[in-house]
Amino acid sequence: MGRVTPLLTSRKVLNITYRTPLETLLKTPETLPTEEPTVPQISYTVAEEHLPTFSFPPYGKKWVALLYGAGKFVTAGILHWKTRKNGAAVASGSASVSANYYYTVNAFFFDVAVGDVLELALWSNQTDSNWDYKAFQVQVTRLIPFNKPRLLRPCNFSSVPAHPVLTLGNPSVSGTSSLHPYHNDRLLPSISGITEYASLYVGNTYGIFRIYRGDYSTSTSVSTSSTYRPYYYRNWVPTQIIMRGLRID
């Protein structure tokens, strides 16, 4: 008589470790030009060392890059910005900044890969605006733990901290965006902490979750503050998922 394969897999613990964000605070702020600069002030090339690491390799995932640029307006004016990926424009925009206020450009890039060059160009309609801060982190989204089985029972998001945590330049958080769990590629109510699901079916498109900034919403945002720089948006992200697979497919 043959041995029967257990219906449930062993308990799997997927730990996701995020890299410390790259941060730079210039000693001397650089004045912003009044036209789009030929060479963007802020540029990062995605490298293996920037990617989150896993306790075991998941079957599928997408990378999202979060890029921040910040500075100050002495005279009230309009900040213009443009993001590029490998030289091609991704987004552009403008924002009002009050006199003596700091601004932070929160830029997001979906589906990046090692070697991609991500850039942020800044300019102003005033001659006394500057920039002096930049930061960068890569996060994971659309995670598919295993090719098979796809039905996870249970699936516990057992650690869901907020990332990135920025430290230089008198930072403060403008907003932390909810995590969007998915069941069979259908959106479940968003979460912002430890959450247990009796079962989740892993869809091919969205996996078991999407982070908000950089995936669910890729819009670049500009936040301003009289006190804080950077004044930034971040995501709730899972750093530990505990699950078993149910072999039905």
């Binding site: 987004a91 403008s94 968003s190 945002s221």
Partner: protein, 87 residues
């Protein structure tokens, strides 16, 4: 509040075009805080300050929609909720 319009145009804007668009938007929408445009999707997202009651908000959206000459899609993001409808 964020309002996303499908402009139907997909191209990289020069800094002069951005300055011109910014001036036009601010003239049409005094409550405008900022905007972003994606040459990949043609979507123009407007960040609008101020708080509007339901009826006033719908009237404002109609007003902005008319001025924007948007062609296809309108998406409204308010307090984290997203409403999307086709023209």
């Amino acid at each position: 509040m964020r309002l996303t319009l499908d402009t139907g145009v997909r191209r990289d804007l020069s800094s002069k075009e951005m300055a011109m668009l910014d001036a036009k938007l601010r003239k049409a929408i005094p409550e405008l805080v900022g905007w972003s445009y994606s040459p990949l999707t043609g979507e123009l997202t407007l960040e609008i300050g101020g708080i509007f009651e339901d009826d006033a908000l719908l009237a404002k959206i109609d007003e902005w929609k008319t001025k924007s000459d948007c062609t296809r899609k309108l998406r409204l993001e308010l307090l984290g909720a997203v409403v999307e409808w086709e023209e």
